[in-house]
């Protein structure tokens, strides 16, 4: 490999949307290692052959964030936003816990599937409500989903009667806490879903059409794309993915905490999408970027906790990250960098001109 091709490869890597996300993850992990050199150590549990360690915990925590981040990527790519994902997680948790609690059969796989299916059905319906309001009624996406963000937690409270319902179901719990060939099931599931969604949107014209809507809805309609149906599909998909995230997050403790499950996770989703290099103005998305973004958020959560800061303070750090990312995306900051790069040749040109004049 020649030096030139190596630098171009390097340059290409730097311009990948997820490059800086990976750099940030490594930086955070390095910070943790400085505090505790054994942080990255992973061991195999001798009893069941499962991997245990901080890295595995991060993967496990990242799974629900990945789900809502994938949904949010698609919604943001259409130029919209879905603020209701956190509340939908609570709804999914409430529905599944109530169902399992009522069914009472803690060993049955069928009951666990039914609970998950019912939860996903209801979040799909709520996602469809968002979609109808945005696509057919023409409300601004953030206000339409804001209503459900507000009401969704209320719906979860009504479903559980204001209680934090607990239930027991071993198959359901296995989704969040189980292991498959030593790796957490929840992470494998998340990766599979990310690959599936990515395969569907990139192998078909779906992804392109979603981006077309985000760039210019009118033009995309004239080009023969039906924005309304696509928007509806996108919001339903976001609802279902939020439902999966909800199932994942209640499954690990088998309790739905109606005021805390999925609380403020819409920011995590937005953050993951922005870290992944997508523009908040819509028109482009990167699922691999959102995937890395979700991993970064899980790492950030763990790191803040590990450094001894109260977990309720993490939003402040995330807010700072999101502000910095927004600044980096902004035209003004980019033009600063551009002028700085151009300044040198401009100055030398001026010099030669002066010299010519003198001569």
């Amino acid at each position: 490999m020649t030096a030139a091709s190596r630098t171009s490869l390097w340059r290409e890597l730097i311009h990948k949307p997820f490059f800086w996300g990976i750099v940030a993850i490594l930086a955070l992990l390095a910070l943790n290692v400085v505090k505790d050199p054994a942080y990255l150590a992973m061991s195999v549990n001798p009893n069941n052959g499962n991997l245990v360690g901080n890295l595995i915990d991060i993967l496990r925590q990242a799974a629900p964030i990945m789900m809502i981040a994938i949904g949010m990527s698609l919604v943001i790519a259409t130029g919209g936003i879905d603020l209701s994902v956190g509340s939908l997680m609570a709804v999914a948790g409430a529905v599944s816990m109530e169902f399992l609690n009522a069914a009472g059969d803690s060993g049955s796989v069928g009951v666990a599937f039914a609970a998950a299916g019912l939860a996903l059905l209801i979040t799909a319906i709520l996602g469809a409500v968002n979609g109808v309001l945005v696509a057919y009624v023409g409300l601004q996406p953030f206000i339409a989903t804001l209503v459900l963000m507000l009401a969704g937690r209320g719906i979860a409270k009504v479903i559980t009667g204001g209680q934090n319902t607990a239930a027991s179901s071993d198959p359901f719990r296995w989704i969040s806490n189980g292991y498959l060939i030593g790796i957490p099931v929840v992470f494998i599931l998340a990766v599979l879903i990310v690959i599936l969604v990515g395969w569907v949107v990139r192998r078909s014209a779906l992804g392109l059409m979603i981006e077309a809507i985000g760039i210019n809805p009118k033009a995309s309609r004239m080009a023969g794309i039906k924005p309304k149906g696509l928007l509806l599909t996108t919001y339903i998909l976001s609802g279902i993915l939020a439902g999966i995230a909800g199932i994942m997050s209640v499954g690990s403790v088998m309790t739905v905490d109606i005021s805390r499950t999925g609380y403020q996770l819409e920011l995590d989703a937005i953050l993951a999408v922005v870290i992944g290099g997508a523009s908040l103005a819509g028109g482009k998305f990167s699922l691999s970027g959102a995937f890395v973004g979700a991993l970064l958020i899980a790492t950030l959560d763990k790191t803040v906790l590990f450094l001894g800061v109260s977990s309720s303070a993490t939003p402040a750090f995330k807010a700072i990250v999101i502000v910095v990312l927004c600044l980096l995306q902004s035209e003004r900051v980019r033009s600063w960098f551009r002028t700085r790069r151009r300044e040198k040749p401009a100055a030398s040109e001026l010099k030669t001109m002066k010299e010519e004049v003198q001569a």
Partner: protein, 345 residues
């Protein structure tokens, strides 16, 4: 332009109806404001008939006392929404500002200084969102969403348990109930300095928005930013200004709320941005900007406050339904606005 002219008492009731009809025809966007006035009156009448003791001095003064902070927030959001923006950070500004304020007061700071700092904290948040939006073209809801999480996080960094304001703190004076009319039994007309401050804020906002050049610029930005720029209006300065106003008023709302309650906590004000947006929207402020009335937002805040009173009085509605009902009302009004604006298109 104001909605109140429609409600001004005339000699013949027919003339009022005629005036209202003409006003709606000329400017359909007053419809949501009129609807919210009708709803407010309807709620009062329904409450009086169904539960009684609504239309009396003590209930109405409690309505004002308990919602003084919400009225201030609704006014704040009115400014921002009229420019076509949004401020999602007001709730957590209140959390951070009130926790910081109570801690400073307990550390022995002068009460006036503490209150100035509390308002200043809000204004500072507003400056940051404003600069992000104005200089870096960040979408308003993203910029203020970031401020929302920053405020909540900073408040949690300060303290995660309820901070109590000292019993003898002069700040509490703002929440002291003063009897204006001594009615029979407990039916007194009561007022607190907080209510007076809220009324002053409303009047000042009314003056600025409807009677000054700045106010007209705010409306012009919402109508069409590029047109406003071409007209030579100070668009950029005003854009930052509305977020500073919104933040500072959120800081002021923190003062009013803390003084009444006497405690502050990092979870104070969760969801209040939604209440404030709902109040402004119910009061007839269009989320797309350019239309809205300060007094309409006040009515909107009172509708929400009265709704809480009615839900409590009813007793049959579980309290967790409150957010669903608020969301439902917000949705109905947004749909109403959508219908009105679509007709104009």
């Amino acid at each position: 332009m104001t909605a109140l002219t429609a409600a001004r008492v005339r000699d013949e009731p027919v003339a009022i109806l005629d005036r209202v009809r003409r006003m709606i025809q000329a400017n359909p966007s007053v419809l949501p404001t009129i609807a919210s006035v009708v709803i407010f009156v309807g709620m009062v009448v329904y409450g009086e008939v169904a539960y009684g003791r609504i239309l009396q001095a003590s209930t109405l003064s409690n309505l004002l006392i308990n919602n003084a902070h919400l009225i201030v927030l609704a006014v704040a959001l009115t400014f921002v929404i009229i420019t076509g923006g949004i401020d999602l950070s007001v709730g957590s500004i209140i959390a951070f500002s009130s926790v910081a304020g109570v801690m400073l007061a307990n550390a022995g700071w002068n009460a006036i200084a503490v209150m100035v700092v509390m308002v200043g904290i809000g204004a500072l948040f507003g400056v940051v969102s404003g600069v992000l939006i104005r200089y870096f073209n960040v979408q308003p809801f993203i910029a203020t969403l970031a401020m929302m999480f920053l405020g909540r996080g900073l408040a949690s960094l300060l303290s995660t348990k309820p901070e109590r304001l000292g019993e003898d703190s002069p700040i509490r004076w703002i929440g002291v109930q003063l009897k204006v009319v001594d009615g029979p039994k407990v039916n007194d007309l009561v007022i607190t300095p907080a209510v007076i401050i809220a009324v002053i804020v409303v009047l000042a906002a009314f003056f600025v928005l409807h009677r000054t050049r700045t106010g007209r610029t705010v409306y012009a930005i919402g109508g069409s930013e590029s047109s406003a720029l071409l007209m030579g209006l100070s668009v950029q300065r005003t854009k930052v200004l509305v977020y500073v106003i919104s933040g500072a008023l959120a800081g002021l709302a923190a003062v009013l709320y803390t003084a009444r309650l006497g405690t502050a906590q990092n979870i104070t004000g969760i969801g209040w941005e939604l209440d404030a947006i709902a109040a402004a929207v119910i009061g007839g402020t269009l989320l797309t900007g350019a239309y809205g009335y300060v007094l309409g937002s006040v009515i909107g805040a009172l509708v929400l406050g009265l709704m809480n009173v009615l839900i409590t009085r009813d007793g049959g509605i579980p309290p967790e339904m409150t957010t669903i009902i608020t969301g439902g009302i917000l949705l109905v009004f947004v749909l109403l606005q959508r219908a009105v604006t679509r007709k104009k298109e």
